[in-house]
């Protein structure tokens, strides 16, 4: 189901919890699917004893992928025209992430109705871990 231009307005916020208590196993699952096996994400011994981190941490792209789930569940399948952002803080095992999209503009682009969104994903402490924007086609 896609969003309809008549059903949303600037300032509207949609939010969804995209992971609760992130597991090391899910990080490893993402490593396998994406092909990025960096030991910083997959190897607790290396991450702590060699790289000096408190534990392994998630790929930025896992956070962005989970944020994308919030967006596609909201705007509909195959509707995104733009999606991007910055990785603003690391995501650790045990984190619970909430992804939020705020409508910033409704406009017509090449005859098609689109919505622009500010996109922010926060951890359980309210710290932004991903901050960016997206644009989607509307009905």
């Amino acid at each position: 189901m896609a969003l309809n231009a008549s059903n949303i307005e600037v300032g509207l916020i949609h939010r969804a919890v995209v992971v609760e208590n992130l597991t090391r196993t899910q990080i490893v699952q993402y490593a396998g699917a994406s092909g990025d096996y960096n030991p910083l994400h997959t190897d607790e011994v290396f991450a702590t004893q060699v790289a000096g981190y408190p534990s392994v941490f998630a790929h930025g792209m896992l956070t962005m992928g989970m944020t994308g789930k919030m967006l596609t569940d909201y705007v509909g399948d195959g509707r995104l025209t733009l999606f991007g952002g910055r990785f603003t803080s690391q995501v650790w095992p045990g984190d619970t992430l909430t992804a939020m999209a705020t409508v910033t503009a409704l406009r017509v682009e090449s005859g098609v109705s689109v919505a622009d969104f500010e996109v922010v994903t926060e951890n359980q402490s309210g710290v932004a871990v991903f901050s960016g924007s997206a644009t989607a086609r509307l009905d």
């Binding site: 189901m1 896609a2 995209v18 992971v19 899910q26 699952q29 993402y30 396998g32 699917a33 994406s34 092909g35 990025d36 096996y37 960096n38 030991p39 910083l40 994400h41 997959t42 190897d43 011994v45 290396f46 004893q49 060699v50 790289a51 000096g52 981190y53 408190p54 790929h59 930025g60 792209m61 896992l62 962005m64 992928g65 989970m66 994308g68 789930k69 967006l71 596609t72 569940d73 509909g76 399948d77 195959g78 995104l80 025209t81 733009l82 999606f83 991007g84 952002g85 910055r86 990785f87 803080s89 690391q90 960016g132």
Partner: protein
């Protein structure tokens, strides 16, 4: 180095969607996808980053005959301060105390990506800049743009990644 071709496979899309915790049937169920607006299985928006699987020299995947920098008998298989690991956008890597991380990723979607097609990649270097970090010393940023085209030569996705290399370990 990056992949030059990215064959899009249904099983790969299914595994990727599972890994990001997205159980939308449009990423795995042919019948459900057929009944949906997009008409057939598509890939999730960030799937395109998995083209790293097809990069023959991807440094963040163990390679035959090359010591892997992760742990085995010892906490790292590589001599400290050895040759740095370079990384493609969408990845992160390790080097002597400092850390290479993925700073930004931006996608421009021209159409959905679907199983059965083979995308062709064109890589362009973007800009590079430096900035004093709040916590990691001097930060070195580098942008890479990858164009993914379908078999018709038309753009499917444009991916612009920014990698950052810090001079110290980033704690949070």
């Amino acid at each position: 180095m990056t992949a030059s071709r990215f064959p899009i496979e249904a099983g790969h899309i299914m595994m990727f969607a599972r890994a990001i915790g997205d159980f939308n049937p449009v990423y795995r169920d042919v019948d459900a996808a057929r009944a949906s607006e997009v008409g057939a299985i598509i890939a999730p928006p960030t799937f395109i980053q998995a083209s790293a699987q097809y990069d023959p020299d991807y440094p963040l995947r163990p390679q035959p005959g090359v010591p892997w920098f992760g742990s085995g008998a010892t906490p790292t298989g590589r001599v400290p301060n050895a040759e740095p690991t370079t990384s493609s956008p969408g990845s992160s890597s390790e080097r002597s105390g400092g850390t290479g991380l993925h700073a930004e990723q931006h996608y421009e979607y021209h159409r959905p990506v679907r199983p059965g097609e083979v995308l062709t990649l064109t890589v362009r270097p973007g800009t590079a800049w430096e900035k004093q970090g709040r916590r990691g010393g001097l930060l070195h940023f580098r942008e890479t743009i990858i164009e993914y085209r379908g078999e018709d030569g038309e753009l499917a996705v444009v991916a612009r990644g920014v990698g950052v290399r810090t001079e110290q370990t980033v704690k949070d």
